[in-house]
């Protein structure tokens, strides 16, 4: 006799992660937050890291991760965190109420990560979850805290959208409107997060990769053209190279491709340096710079690389400079 199976109710963990909002990506950790939330702190080197994203009101999302090799106990880590909170509450003479597995956060993460959702309330209220990823071995604590009367309805979507490691050979980096994927082998060397200018610098085996974005493109290019403007921005670095420019539209925008070869004297000094490091020198400069009118930004991806390297072209092909492009 045929039986009728009642369709399974979707749980939070089986529901797809939300795709709207702003993507923030840092060292393999990505999260989607509401449009007007912005990163206020990024840190981390090697196995640990920290990301703080603030809303225009009092709510703050904090994600902390640490690589734990060997046996990792999620309950023990949560207990440590709880004890720290209790100590702070005692010191400040406030009452702390602690709840495990609040209803709002049931099945928020996949079960293989052994997640434990929690909530606490003192002068602030917070909803969070702690888990250990068996793939990247990161112990992750993610928590949204804010005033007790703040709107916490976005918390499940935010916590569900967190990805703790990059899939494949590419890592997503996304901060303040600069969103791109870089190969895993490139190590982040430096970031410049200034208002109006965001820059990431990576290094791998003598190659250097830069990804940049400038805001207020319309104003910047009001009285000049893209080539003159970008040459002025890069004057210091471009001095070493003989550069050729080509028109190269990127994602339908007007853009430029530059191909540069290092001048003989700087090339010779680089050769000497490379011989010491036992690496073949990266003598070529290749890059793209373009204006995205939709986002009012100027974007550039440039690399100091060896002849024949295609990394810049691959990054630019994967890049998304504005929203309405299909994912």
């Amino acid at each position: 006799m045929p039986t009728l199976k009642r369709p399974k109710r979707p749980t939070s963990a089986t529901r797809p992660a939300p795709t709207g909002g702003t993507l923030v990506g840092w060292r393999g950790v990505t999260v989607r937050v509401p449009e007007d939330w912005s990163p206020v702190l990024v840190s981390g080197e090697g196995p640990s890291g920290h990301l703080r994203i603030a809303s225009p009101d009092s709510r703050v999302l904090e994600i902390k991760w640490k690589e734990v090799r060997g046996s990792a106990s999620v309950p023990a880590n949560l207990e440590n965190y709880r004890r720290t909170l209790e100590r702070i509450a005692r010191r400040n003479r406030v009452e702390l109420t602690w709840r495990l597995r609040p209803k709002q956060l049931t099945a928020i993460r996949p079960q293989r990560q052994q997640p434990i959702p929690y909530a606490w309330e003192a002068t602030h209220r917070a909803y969070g979850v702690i888990w250990h990823c068996p793939h990247c071995l990161r112990m992750v604590t993610a928590e949204v805290a804010g005033d007790p009367d703040a709107d916490f309805s976005v918390v499940p979507d935010i916590l569900r959208s967190i990805s703790d490691h990059a899939e494949g050979d590419w890592i997503t980096w996304a901060l303040y409107g600069l969103e791109f994927e870089a190969p895993k082998r490139f190590q982040l060397e430096r970031t410049r997060l200034k208002t109006g200018h965001v820059e990431f610098q990576f290094r791998h085996a003598g190659r250097i990769l830069w990804a940049e974005r400038w805001g207020l493109a319309r104003l910047a290019l009001k009285q000049t053209d893209l080539k003159t403007w970008w040459t002025a921005q890069w004057a210091e670095r471009l001095g070493r190279y003989r550069v050729e420019w080509e028109e190269a539209p990127v994602d339908g925008h007007r853009g430029l491709r530059l191909i540069g070869t290092e001048r003989p004297l700087p090339a010779f000094t680089r050769l000497l340096g490379s011989l010491v490091a036992l690496q073949w020198p990266a003598w070529c400069l290749r890059g793209y710079v373009w204006e995205c009118p939709q986002s009012n930004r100027i974007l550039a991806v440039t690399a100091m690389q060896r002849r024949g390297d295609r990394v810049v072209d691959e990054i630019v092909a994967r890049m998304r400079c504005h929203r309405d492009r299909a994912p």
Partner: protein, 132 residues
């Protein structure tokens, strides 16, 4: 001079009032009534700041035949901000249109606008009305 040194040591130092981020966002920038302004042909705001009129100021103005006003031309975004400093918009209400018009993130606008308003306030071109 002496007063400046004493201030630096900290004896009579008047500390600036501390306000929280929320209070700062709810503050209302108000233009200095002494400062006249106009919009030039390039849609830029030109501020006309009266020169000091105390005895020394008058003497210096006479010696150097200085004009009655000092002019400051604000750039495009500065002009937008100045026009929004009408005593009705809060800092938060200035951030939102700027962010959407120039496609900047809220945080970027908040940081730059705060610095800009601080500069204007330091030059006594605006004051900030804080609700407590």
């Amino acid at each position: 001079m002496v007063r400046a040194w004493v201030n630096r040591i900290g004896g009579w130092r008047r500390r600036a009032p501390r306000i929280s981020r929320q209070e700062a966002l709810a503050a209302i920038p108000v233009r200095n009534g002494q400062v006249r302004w106009e919009v030039n042909g390039r849609e830029e705001v030109v501020l006309l700041i009266p020169r000091r009129q105390d005895r020394l100021g008058r003497l210096l103005n006479r010696i150097f035949a200085a004009p009655e006003h000092r002019q400051i031309v604000l750039d495009e975004i500065g002009s937008e901000v100045w026009q929004l400093c009408d005593g009705e918009h809060t800092v938060d209400e200035i951030i939102r249109p700027l962010a959407s018009r120039h496609r900047l993130s809220r945080r970027e606008v908040e940081l730059s606008l705060t610095l800009y308003l601080q500069q204007l306030a330091r030059r006594r071109l605006i004051g900030l009305m804080v609700r407590r």
